[in-house]
């Protein structure tokens, strides 16, 4: 096991003024045995960052350092992937098509010239963990998607690496299998306790798997934190809109004491805004209180219902707040509102998020 320290890492393609910078100085400290998820929309540089940790992509600037359990620390910028003591699971699994499952898992160990008995023990152990025992003689094309995925994981496990790297390993699976594999990965991490970096664009995967997550956008790190922190206190507008489903309502307006002017409406605030002037107000759909049954220090807003979606346990109500769109999530057992209805909404003060429209940063309230 190793701790990974990424300091001010830059990735640039090309040289000189025409160079295209895709990662602008990312820094993160990953503790030994931690499960870190790097999440972001496609093209945000999350896979590139992972590939730089793997050594498949050159590092244009900054430093990546591995510190192993015995305190030995080394900069791996110029170390070949095979010598970094890592294992990687690819999105399309990258199994060798002409080799059996056993050979796929054993290939790296054979190259490392491990004794055959040792290879066999390790592969058998991994096969047992992943329930691949009966499939060891099969070729990858005779396996289902989920089984292939498990072989790819097996190939990583047998190497007994310091760090696991996962590059969107679940995106080729169907929804049910994805949920199931997610649980398996969680269990596996609990069992093996190896430092893991997991790249995904899926926020559900990120929230469920991560001990801490790194939210990335356009080659920059937006926030690092536990899923709870990222959900409860998004550091930027981007994080606020990206994490959470359906996304947070963001109202662009002007604060004036305990009123918020948006789309020609003055919304009463339960607590004065942190400052006056242009601000962005954020409120999650699940945090708006439907109706006016709560007493105490709450704000009262009037919404007009546009569309209602039934999701089973809950309903999504798309409303208008003056000119602005506003989504509310309500319990599925509540009587459904009709389009055109005017509905009162109550706002608890601790549920409001404030952002600076100029910098996009969170404004502490």
């Amino acid at each position: 096991m190793a701790a990974v320290s990424i300091s001010n890492v830059i990735k640039r393609y090309g040289f000189g003024p025409g160079a295209n910078t895709v990662i602008h100085g990312v820094s993160a400290e990953i503790a030994e045995g931690e499960f870190i998820v790097i999440v972001g929309p496609s093209g945000c540089g999350k896979s590139t960052l992972l590939r730089m940790v793997a050594g498949l992509e050159e590092i244009s600037g900054g430093e990546i350092r591995f510190t192993s359990g015995d305190g030995r620390s080394r900069v791996v910028n110029d170390v070949e992937p095979a010598d970094r003591d890592i294992a990687m699971v690819f999105q399309n699994y990258a199994l060798y098509p002409h080799m059996s499952v056993f050979d796929n898992m054993a290939y790296g160990l054979k190259i490392a010239k491990l004794p055959l008995a040792e290879i066999k023990t390790r592969v058998d152990k991994a096969a047992k963990i992943l329930e691949l025992g009966a499939l060891l003689d099969r070729k990858p094309r005779q396996l289902s998607g989920g089984q292939r995925q498990r072989v790819a994981m097996g190939r990583a496990i047998v190497r007994q690496p310091q760090v696991y790297l996962f590059d969107e390993p679940l995106s080729n699976l169907d929804a049910k299998l994805r949920a199931q594999t997610r649980l398996e990965i969680q269990k596996l991490h609990a069992e093996l306790g190896v430092t893991s970096l997991f790249v995904t664009h899926d926020q559900v995967e990120a929230m469920t798997l991560a001990q801490r997550m790194i939210v990335m956008n356009a080659g920059r790190m937006e926030q690092v934190g536990t899923p709870e922190e990222v959900y409860a206190r998004p550091a930027t507008i981007f994080v606020a809109g990206f994490i959470g489903s359906p996304p947070m309502n963001l109202l662009d307006g002007t604060a004036d004491g305990s009123r918020f002017m948006v789309g020609g409406q003055a919304l009463p605030l339960p607590r004065p805004a942190p400052r006056s002037g242009p601000l962005i107000l954020g409120l999650r759909p699940e945090h708006a209180i439907w109706g006016d049954g709560v007493s105490g220090n709450v704000g009262h807003w009037q919404l007009r219902v546009d569309v209602v979606e039934m999701l089973g346990a809950e309903r999504l109500v798309y409303c208008r707040l003056g000119d602005a769109l506003f989504t509310v999530r309500i319990d599925g057992t509540l009587p459904p509102p009709k389009p055109g209805d005017a509905v009162p909404l109550q706002i608890a003060p601790e549920r409001l998020h404030w952002f600076d429209p100029a910098t996009g940063m969170r404004v502490a309230s």
Binding site: A82, M88, Q91, Y96, P97, Y107, G108
Partner: protein, 283 residues
């Protein structure tokens, strides 16, 4: 065929059978002629039943014996041709595999330039560059040698291009996975790319073996020693330059049969590989 009409099925079979017969007939005549005596052949019309001289004719052709034309035994020529065709086929595959590997998997200055240089040579068949090539081969003292026969024919833009296209379809992740597994470039080539290219290699081998086997113009230039004649040249020589009467057509036909045989064997043997490649496509 999508439609199931008995008449159409019958009709297409008739066409196929007629076509096959038309193609087979000359080979059949060649075989019949090779079993007769030279007098029997010259009868008009020639008998279409096998004669009695099968073994005698083939023995004469292979090891010499009743030889009036002064042409050396074909056994040795078959061997020369076999070595030549094998060297060309194996050499072409080896070289183009390696150059395609370099072009696809390594980043070096002038990579594209070299690829296009190779590609451009597609436009220059052996015949176009034959005089300068002859000059070089003769200056190097390679006339009448296997090296002279095969080396100039080994470089192949077509095969390089084919392997390049195939390598481009192999997912990058495979190379990356191998890199993480600690396989160096040559190890990756041997353990991953080579097994995946096997059906391609088999196909190329057949094509190039036949290409090498059928070479006529080039061996004609670089050999003047009978010991280095390939079979096609020998065949031509056995017909002779003189009058018709001197030619022992039965022996010529036997030689022709022998010249056809090895390519046919290669095709038949390799056909299994094609079928295998088609049945279990490994993706």
């Amino acid at each position: 065929m999508v439609e199931r009409r008995p008449f159409l099925g019958f009709f297409s079979h008739v066409v196929l059978i007629i076509g096959a017969l038309v193609v087979m007939f000359p080979i059949f005549v060649t075989f019949i002629a090779s079993t007769q005596t030279s007098e029997q052949i010259l009868q008009v019309p020639m008998s279409l039943w096998p004669g009695s001289e099968l073994l005698k004719n083939y023995r004469a052709v292979l090891v010499g014996g009743a030889d009036t034309t002064g042409v050396s035994p074909m056994g040795h020529m078959l061997w020369v041709t076999f070595v030549m065709a094998m060297t060309i086929a194996v050499g072409k595959i080896t070289i183009s595999l390696l150059s395609a590997f370099a072009i696809v998997y390594f980043r070096f200055p002038g990579r594209n330039f070299f690829f296009w240089m190779i590609f451009v040579t597609l436009m220059l068949p052996v015949e176009v560059r034959i005089s300068p090539t002859y000059k070089i081969v003769s200056d190097l003292g390679l006339l009448n040698s296997y090296a002279g026969l095969t080396l100039p024919l080994i470089a192949s833009a077509t095969a390089t291009f084919l392997f390049r296209q195939f390598f481009l379809t192999v997912p990058d992740e495979l190379a990356e996975a191998a890199r993480i597994d600690g396989a160096g470039p040559m190890r990756f080539l041997r353990d991953v790319l080579l097994p995946l290219s096997l059906t391609n290699i088999a196909a190329l081998f057949v094509i190039q073996f036949i290409y090498g086997w059928n070479q006529y113009l080039w061996p004609l230039l670089v050999t003047n020693d009978e010991a280095m004649y390939p079979i096609v040249l020998g065949l031509r020589r056995s017909i002779g330059a003189g009058g018709d009467a001197a030619v022992e057509w039965n022996l010529v036909m036997a030689t022709a049969m022998l010249a056809i045989l090895p390519p046919v064997i290669v095709v038949v043997l390799m056909q299994k590989w094609f079928v295998k490649g088609l049945v279990d496509t490994e993706k």
